[in-house]
Amino acid sequence: MKENIIKVENLSKSFDISSKDPGLKGTIKHFFKRETKNIKVIKNITFNIKKGEIVGFLGANGAGKTTILKMLCGLIYPSEGKLAVAGYLPYKRKTNFLNNITLIMGQKQQLIWDLPPIESFYLNAAIYDLEKFEAKRRIRKLAEMLEIDKELYIPVRKLSLGQRMKAELLAALIHKPNILFLDEPTLGLDINAQRNLRKFLQTYNKETNATICLTSHYMKDITSLCKRVICIHKGCITYDGKLEKLLKRISPVKDLLIICKTDKDAKELCNLGFAIKNKNQKEITITIKNDAINFTLKEILNKFDIEDLYINEPPIDEIIGNILVKEKV
């Protein structure tokens, strides 16, 4: 059995957050007398993550995903509870712990803006105490995997967002971390760049058995990378388990696209009392509960002469969008 590399028990985090009334009066009041409230943004969460797992943290904006990630990598102090990452207390930021982890943030960059990325890589190599030969070897290998060999010598400011993100990844992985914290790594990237990044992360996980904790608003990131998801709602865990199971549990329905041969059939089908999701002339999409599929299909095929028929899962974005705002899944 694989060991737990991340252990979290009853972890909470509170912040003092000030609020301001609108308008000039509110601004003046805010300037002289600031009212702050202590808000518990993470509430007694408990979970474990095994070595080599890829876990997706799902939640609406402000749910607390990034705060959890930042506590796990040691950037912020927890208010209550226990946590251990690779056997270390993250917030102590011991050298051996820092050599084991990396944080990649889609919206922030660490590369030196006016210089080619290779200069930042060598600087990071020195920070992680790597020999020049070893650093070169790692840069070459990661650059090949990320397909950015040519871009290594072009100033960062002249690179596209996708190329820059790849270079950021290389800079963050040069020390071969065992645990990767990724906060919306595909933010703002086009579809191809997103796909390449996901492919790279899959390969990296396979080759190094690294543990990956990921937050993303792109559901494709979650579905193609994570077998396990942790849903966060208002600082609490509402679901922790397999993504597949979650989808089955929260989406007990399927979409049935029926293409009728005649308009008359299409009209009659609409009058049978099914939940119609979409109608476009002879094409009708109805939503059916999973346990009623067989019966419904038989009924439709017996009654109508249909041209074609498709059974689809509802779009994952739609399903997950619904659960992000639920108290309990």
């Binding site: 028990e9 040691g74 270390y88 207390l89 050298t95 030196i112 006016d114 600087l123 920070i127």
Partner: protein
């Protein structure tokens, strides 16, 4: 469940070789970044020369109708100007590019990258960048000092050099610590640009001998904002006027300021909340 920090082989002792290597790369990347913008460097060089000429001109106006101000002759006051120019050069070379950046790091949350590196965070944010144009000011300041040594007929020996270097080094440490302390408060107050500007304004005052100010101002600039330690005492060392206890006091004050700045930084980091994503 086993919680706690495993002590493996990290012993916390600064690996000097590693830090020298990192710093040499900081130097290289900063100079290489600056060299991308040639015109900017030229403008900075011209500004440094004009600034020194302007300061000497201002000083000469003060001395137009009098031989001395607060017991200092024009030739002696030039020493303070020389030391001020060196300190201003150091400020522009290291402090300005790095310490003003702390505010940005904290506001935008890029301090995250610094804190997650296995390197001392104070070292990293204090020395990562460098503005080569400040070098010219340092060279100009040193040249002016040597000129002053000549016109004031100062006797130079090894002891003189050691004392000058020590007091100058302590001045740099005091200035750095003050600036760093103010920048650290950004962790709570988020924006402290103005406070560092006020500090720079006080440093301008350091161009003039402390004795030229009133008693109350002298006390203020000695205790609350130790400008006296920053420029006046090193100048007195150059002129052979400094008392031993003054030099010792400067060493102690610089040590205390540095320790406070270091402790305060480590304490403040506990309150760092990072910027939201």
């Amino acid at each position: 469940m086993v919680y706690g920090n495993k002590k493996i082989y990290g012993n916390g002792i600064m690996n000097l070789k590693k830090y020298i290597k990192i710093y040499s790369l900081f130097l290289y990347t900063s100079v290489a970044s600056e060299l991308e913008y040639k015109t900017n460097i030229m403008i900075d060089f011209i500004t440094a020369i004009l600034s020194l000429i302007g300061s000497i001109f201002l000083l000469s106006i003060f001395f137009q109708n009098t031989d001395n101000i607060g017991g200092w002759k024009f030739e002696q006051a030039l020493i303070i100007q020389g030391i001020y120019t060196i300190l201003n050069g150091i400020t522009n070379t290291w402090f300005n590019p790095n310490l003003t950046e702390i505010v940005k790091h904290i506001r935008e949350g890029t301090l995250d990258f610094v804190l997650l590196k296995p390197v001392d965070s104070q070292f990293f944010i204090s020395l990562k960048k460098l503005a080569p144009s400040g070098f010219l000011e340092i060279v100009l300041g040193v040249t002016l000092l040597f000129y002053c040594i000549g016109i004031n007929q100062i006797n130079m020996n090894l002891g003189f050099y050691i004392l000058c270097f020590t007091t100058l080094f302590c001045s740099i440490v005091i200035l750095y610590s003050l600036w760093f302390l103010i920048s650290t408060t950004t962790i709570w107050f988020v924006k402290t640009w103005n406070a560092t500007e006020v500090l720079r304004s006080f440093l301008y005052i350091g161009r003039f001998p402390l004795n030229s100010f009133s008693f109350s101002l002298r006390i203020f600039f000695s205790i609350f904002i130790p400008i006296a330690f920053i420029t006046t005492i090193p100048s007195e060392v150059f002129l052979g006027l400094a008392k031993f206890w003054e030099i010792l006091l400067e060493v102690v004050v610089s040590g205390i300021f540095f320790i406070i700045s270091r402790r305060f930084w480590l304490f403040a980091l506990k309150y760092y909340t990072s910027a939201s994503s």
